[in-house]
């Protein structure tokens, strides 16, 4: 059982220096920047942490030469290899320490990847790094499409969402495949601490970051990261849309403890499991975003909305079984 007692408190967090500075070029309303700042504040050893970043929005928007938003050692190698890069960094410090060339503790290593760099092009390197058991934390900021290149469909794009490569046409109403269950795929490696998180439920997110980084071995955090440009909503609504993702059980909050091999629900999702009447219909989430507009206009597609609701219900039931609620 992984124990972690740290509880973030606002008074304490307010004193922390910002390790991800303002002035980066992420879009206004982008959740990725918010998530990164929360991650930085939750680091157990901020002076002894190294970041590896996959190619993507976060990487390009935070490091336009000669500027950088990062106040920690940071490396971007390529799109699909942040996990392999992190493996190499970890291996370097292990060897240097063994040889007496590095006297301090081995730094904490965090890798940030978007959904492209995690679900799709980066999955092989990530699976390899987890199988090898490197001590690093992978943080997936999941904005559910290739946003950096202009909103193309990924293995994470939800069913029925319109993207530039899965447009809502007269014949095909958006993406017709379901989102890959990445958290379960990573958990199936059986040696990684895995959790989902949502920046609206910031305390849950930060506790999980702390737990993931301190866990001796690979960790994986799946954070939903709203993208107002790609999801088509007003930038002011990011946290509201984030909240609805969890409140409708589209992005439930859970964690997997590899030591006990148990799944548990956390925070709002635990509350919903105990109070099922608090589970909101998916429509409440879908209607906030232009990428699902074709489900409501020009005519309402009750068939598709129903299909999504049934799928979400089925997956939520599955999660309740896994976590001992039914």
């Amino acid at each position: 059982m992984i124990e972690q007692k740290w509880r973030p408190n606002l008074f304490e967090l307010a004193k922390k220096p910002s390790l991800f500075t303002s002035g980066h070029r992420l879009c206004s309303g982008c959740a990725a920047g918010t998530i990164v700042r929360m991650v930085m504040m939750a680091l157990p050893n901020p002076k002894r942490t190294i970041i590896a970043n996959a190619t993507g929005c976060l990487e390009v928007a935070s490091t336009i030469f000669p500027y950088t938003a990062w106040k920690l050692p940071w490396i971007h190698n390529a799109f699909e290899n942040a996990a392999a890069t992190a493996s190499g960094i970890e291996a370097a410090f292990k060897a240097l320490k063994r040889k007496g060339l590095w006297k301090k503790d081995i730094p904490d290593i965090i890798a940030f990847g978007g959904d492209g760099g995690t679900y799709d092009i980066g999955l092989q390197a990530l699976s390899g790094a987890i199988e090898r058991g490197h001590d690093f934390t992978w943080i997936l900021y999941d904005n559910e499409a290739y946003m950096n290149t202009g909103i193309q469909r990924s293995g994470s794009t939800p069913f029925a969402a319109a993207t530039t490569t899965s447009p809502a046409g007269k014949v095909i109403p958006g993406k017709m495949e379901w989102k890959k269950p990445i958290g379960f795929i990573i958990a199936a490696h059986m040696n990684a601490y895995v959790a989902t998180a949502n920046p609206f439920y910031w305390q849950d997110l930060m506790k999980k970051v702390r737990k993931a980084v301190l866990y001796k071995g690979p960790s994986f955090l799946h954070v939903i990261s709203t993208c107002n440009r790609g999801w088509r909503f007003d930038p002011s609504q990011s946290m509201i849309v984030s909240k609805l993702a969890t409140d409708t059980c589209l992005h439930p909050l859970w964690e997997f403890d590899p030591e006990t091999r148990t799944y548990s629900l956390t925070d709002r999702s635990l509350y919903i499991a105990k109070h099922p009447d608090q589970k909101l219909p998916v429509e409440r989430y879908l209607e906030t975003q232009g990428r699902f507009r074709h489900l409501f206009k020009p005519e309402r597609r009750d068939d598709l909305i129903k299909e999504i609701q049934e799928r979400v219900d089925k997956e939520w039931e599955y999660l309740l079984k896994l976590t001992g609620f039914s």
Binding site: I50, I75, A78, S87, G88, A91, A92, A95, K99, P107
Partner: protein, 411 residues
């Protein structure tokens, strides 16, 4: 005074692993591919038996092998990997990133013909595919040279005026799997001394602070590696990278000299190795293990009174155009041997660059190309002799000059 050495029976792959052991690299990240496998097998034994304290990362692909080396090198480690053919092609994207991030990684390449059709035997097409990736590319002729060159490679790569990754290429199977008696240093500490101890990471001044060029969290200013670099700076950075490659010419020569004092072995001026060229009218230019076979034929022809010699190119990148000018300026006919495919070009890559290097000479020799040995096709002395006979005929005006001929292939 040279250091104490011992004789040992090793094949080329084992020699590569032995050199990495003697350098005592910090991180090896590698993925198996024939004919490189023995490198990783042998090195795994060193790790398993506690002979080295290296961290061995058995990655899930060559792409990750080089990616992990980039991470390790950026973290301040000496990193080593090895591959061939398809594995090298899978690494292609990261080859460019490793060189532009200026990481002094060393990689052994047991050259093999790339697919398809799939073939596991030697030619140089795999290396020629990546000749513009910004890596220093050294070609060894035999097992001894594989060992020596990998040790030299770290000193070249880590030179503060260079800071570029180095490939040490040797012929798959012909060298990788052929056991030879070679000399290795008796005490690896001597190799450490040659390299000046553990890797020294250059420091730069940044915003009034002295900063180590690494991911070291102890740095007074944390560094960002691999940022987005657009039209306002990219060009300057690529220009700096090209200049580093220019610096490598002199550094390769200097390291070759230093290594000679240390080991008693020297490879020409480090960039090219001339043989019987002083009064030569005919010269051949080539790389890799075929050079030894060719010298045997050259000796035969010399006995017959033919003035012929050889220039073996050891450093393909940076390309030693100045050495080619120097050694070939008085020659009448040059035959360039490419063990690589020439798709839609006037000839093979070594030929094109050799001919270009000689163009500025007041009177330049006739330069012709032989493409040979693809997919491991043998190049025995008798076949080499026929090519040299052609060069003699060209010199005597009995045969016309041509761009390229395929040697040892059924028509």
């Amino acid at each position: 005074m040279t250091m104490e050495q011992m004789d040992i029976l090793l094949n080329g792959d084992e020699a590569a692993a032995w050199a990495a052991k003697d350098v005592h690299v910090d991180v090896v990240a590698a993925y198996p591919i024939t004919p490189q496998t023995i490198v990783v097998e042998k090195f795994s034994e060193f790790v398993a038996n506690g002979i080295v304290q290296t961290e061995f990362v058995s990655v899930e692909s060559e792409h990750s092998a080089l990616s992990a080396c980039v991470g390790a090198a950026a973290a301040g480690a000496r990193a080593f990997t090895a591959t061939a053919a398809n594995g090298l092609q899978l690494m292609n994207e990261i080859l460019y990133i490793a060189s532009s991030l200026r990481q002094p990684i060393v990689m052994a390449i047991a050259n093999r013909a790339p697919s398809g059709p799939i073939n596991i035997h030697n030619d140089h097409t795999d290396a020629m595919n990546v000749r513009d990736a910004g890596w220093i590319m050294l070609f060894a002729e035999n097992t001894q040279e594989v060992y020596d060159t990998i040790i030299q490679a770290y000193k070249i790569a880590e030179d503060p005026n260079v800071l570029l990754p180095v490939m040490v290429c040797y012929d798959g199977f012909l060298i990788s799997h052929t056991a030879e008696r070679i000399k290795v240093f008796k005490d690896p500490k001597d190799v450490a001394e040659f390299l000046g101890g553990p890797r020294k990471i250059p420091k730069i001044e940044l915003m009034g602070k002295e900063v180590e060029l690494s991911l070291n969290p102890e740095n007074p200013l944390p560094l960002t590696f691999g940022p987005l670099d657009l039209y306002d700076y990219y060009f300057e950075h690529k220009r700096q990278q090209s200049e580093a490659m220019q610096h490598a010419y002199a550094v390769i020569e200097k390291v070759n000299e230093e290594y000679a004092k240390f080991s008693g072995r020297k490879y020409g001026n480090g960039r090219v190795v001339p043989y019987r060229l002083d009064d030569a009218e005919i010269a051949i230019v080539l790389m890799g293990s075929t050079a030894g076979t060719a010298r045997y034929v050259i000796d035969e022809l010399r006995d017959e009174g033919i003035k012929i010699g050889e220039l073996r190119v050891r450093s393909f990148r940076p390309f030693p155009y100045m050495d080619l000018e120097r050694y070939l300026k008085n020659v009448k006919v040059v035959g360039v041997f490419d063990r690589a495919q020439d798709q839609g070009m006037q000839g093979g890559p070594l030929f094109l660059e050799t001919r270009a290097a000689l163009y500025d000479l007041a009177s330049h020799p006739k330069v012709v190309n032989f493409v040979f040995g693809l997919g491991g096709r043998d190049m025995p002395p008798e076949l080499l002799r026929t090519t040299m006979d052609e060069l003699i005929a060209i010199k005597e005006g009995k045969k016309p000059v041509f761009n390229r001929k395929y040697i040892g292939v059924r028509e």
